[in-house]
């Protein structure tokens, strides 16, 4: 276990080094003055890293705030969208995936997999435009742009506007929270299409692998019903392997979330990067590399460790390695 933790830490450090070098190259480039021959690149990099570690990421040309603050606020909005979409698509996707996996190659399976395929085949940005164009959007009165109506001035506490608006309930009596939720509906529906099909696919694959194994046959011969088998044996073994698979998709998910935010002009990291680059403020890009990639890196390592803690099969693999 300690050995494993050490190896993960090693991985974290090396990957962080590569990422910081990428961020450094962008910041060098954005200065437009490539260093003269007598300036030591290594020393420049050390300077850059000291600045980053001290939290001095430069000032934005657009709103004269720190890049770190801008980036963190924008990214927390993206993250909020991702989490809401992940929650909804897990609620929809996991049961469907379980059904498809249990009744493999049946009509139910084909129907569910067709739905998943359609969800994958619809490009997210196009789906977003379609949802905006649909008359039902007008009928329901769902807001189609921005994070929250500008009449609500929510104090910045955590950066997650859902939580912030709840905390500010003494100002607006939950109206701000409801408004934020309404603004989240359409973007998260779009993102859920991709995520749900992904979760259905992974769950089905995992479940059907487990259903082939001998202990399920043994349980069948014992005369257990399908429901008993699923709840006693299948879920415990099939669900944990989905997590690392989903982890590999993190960058795709965030990329799609950023695109969706741009279409809905929500103030997330997509819009932040777009406006910064159009305004010639390239330091924002290196800040984005540090924040977004840093988040993905940290979360994947946390997920790896959690995986070891939660699932006995993953632990067994660990001991078998030795």
């Amino acid at each position: 276990m300690l050995n494993y933790l050490f190896r993960r830490l090693n991985l974290l450090l090396i990957t962080a080094l590569i990422l910081s070098i990428i961020a450094f190259i962008i910041s060098l480039w954005s200065d437009n003055a490539l260093p003269d021959q007598d300036i030591n690149l290594f020393m420049l990099y050390m300077d850059y890293m000291t600045n980053i570690l001290q939290g001095q990421w430069g000032i934005s040309l657009i709103n004269q705030k720190s890049h770190m603050l801008n980036g963190l606020i924008a990214f927390s909005s993206t993250l909020e969208l991702c989490l809401v979409a992940l929650l909804t698509s897990m609620i929809i996707g996991i049961p469907l995936g379980i059904f498809a996996g249990i009744y493999r190659n049946g009509i139910l399976d084909y129907t569910i997999m067709s739905i998943a395929l359609i969800g994958l085949a619809l490009p997210a940005f196009w789906l977003a435009i379609m949802l905006i164009m649909l008359p039902i959007t007008f009928d329901l009165g769902l807001p189609i742009d921005g994070n929250i109506s500008p009449i609500y001035d929510i104090p910045l506490i955590t950066g997650f506007q859902l939580i912030d608006s709840l905390l500010a309930s003494d100002l607006y009596n939950l109206a701000a929270f409801v408004d934020r939720l309404a603004h989240l509906i359409l973007p998260s529906v779009v993102l859920s299409f991709f995520l749900t099909s992904e979760i259905i696919r992974l769950t089905r694959h995992s479940i059907s692998l487990v259903m082939k194994s001998n202990y399920i046959k043994a349980a069948n011969t014992k005369g257990l019903t399908v429901i008993q088998i699923v709840f006693r044996h299948v879920l415990k073994n099939a669900l944990p392997p989905i997590i690392p698979q989903l982890r590999l998709q993190l960058n795709t998910i965030i990329s799609i979330a950023m695109t969706v935010e741009i279409v809905f002009s929500a103030q997330g990291s997509g819009v932040w990067l777009l406006t910064s680059i159009k305004g010639g403020d390239y330091l924002a890009l290196s800040a984005a590399v540090i924040i977004i990639s840093g988040f993905i890196l940290l979360s994947s390592i946390v997920i790896d460790i959690l995986q070891i803690v939660i699932s006995p099969t993953a632990r067994k693999m660990l001991y078998a390695d030795k």
């Binding site: 994958l120 085949a121 490009p123 965030i254 990329s255 950023m258 741009i262 890196l297």
Partner: protein
């Protein structure tokens, strides 16, 4: 008709023929295969196929709807855009860029990824760990960010968007190949081959690759699907193809302001993307079933 009852030789099909014969029984997949071949031909000969140049403007007919709608003409089957350019021609031209780019990327990634992935899986020590860490770093940067970085460094262009998409998909493919080969390495047949003194190349060619066909088909399918989606997304955001070149995502972006006047200009390119992905996925699904059945 010659009936040969006498020398009824029992032909033993090669595994490929067997898989192919199973595949041919699946009507959906065969249909998807023919459509896919048609799509490839269209993308190869797009310039010959179009009736109008995608850039020639027809000032008589601005924003005309498709021919099945009221006010549409059969001169322009899918209507025209705000400058009177033929939508069908623009769709085919845009399709050529998106589909062709995705095909190119998938071939390149499959080749490079298979080489790097097998090397990483079969070697231990420094080489494998360097590969791994570099890839892990790439895996943490979202596609959009890679594209933005390339644009800031080299300027927006179709080529850069293709490079950005490949850079984000290559690590996923290598990861997949690495894991599948790794799962085969402990099996008995690999050990038997190794005891025979097989070199790594022979081990891969005659041992491992025939056994991991199904995961590879799934991976390539996934890479292709994501490539289509991501090329279109980058084009839509204006980071890919630059005017006057067109691409399906860029077509949508160009006509998004007209979406209330002529929604077809936005709907059709999305439908084309949808059809491409559906066709490819149905084809590979059939292939996968055939391979799984053939292996049993």
């Amino acid at each position: 008709m010659l009936i040969n009852n006498e020398f009824n030789e029992q032909k033993i099909q090669s595994p490929w023929q067997y898989i192919w014969s199973i595949f041919l029984q699946n009507n959906f997949a065969v249909f998807a295969m023919w459509v896919g071949i048609a799509l490839i031909l269209i993308s190869l000969f797009a310039d010959i196929l179009v009736l109008y140049s995608p850039f020639s403007q027809d000032p008589q007919r601005l924003l005309s709807p498709p021919y099945w709608m009221a006010g549409g003409t059969t001169d322009h089957l899918f209507g025209t855009d705000d400058l009177g350019r033929d939508t069908l021609a623009r769709l085919i031209k845009g399709f050529q860029f998106t589909f062709g780019g995705a095909l190119l990327i998938s071939f390149a990634i499959t080749f490079i990824g298979a080489v790097i992935g097998s090397t990483a899986a079969l070697t231990r020590g420094v080489k494998a760990s360097v590969l791994h860490h570099l890839l892990d770093a790439l895996l943490t940067i979202p596609t959009l960010l890679i594209a933005l970085i390339l644009i800031v460094l080299f300027g927006p262009s179709y080529q850069n968007s293709l490079i950005a998409v490949s850079l984000s998909l290559l690590p996923q493919f290598i990861r997949g190949i690495y894991n599948t080969i790794g799962s085969q390495l402990n099996k008995q047949y690999v050990i038997a081959l190794r005891l025979d003194g097989a070199t790594n190349i022979r081990l891969l060619r005659s041992g491992i690759y025939p056994n991991i066909l199904e995961p590879i088909v799934t991976l390539v399918n996934r890479i292709f699907t994501m490539a289509i989606l991501e090329i279109a997304t980058l084009g839509f955001l204006g980071f890919g193809t630059q005017s006057p070149d067109i691409e399906l995502g860029k077509l949508i972006a160009d006509s998004i302001d007209l979406s209330s006047l002529s929604p077809w200009l936005v709907i059709l390119p999305g439908l084309v993307i949808f059809i491409i992905i559906m066709v490819v996925n149905i084809f590979t699904e059939g292939l996968r079933h055939a391979i799984i059945q053939g292996e049993d």
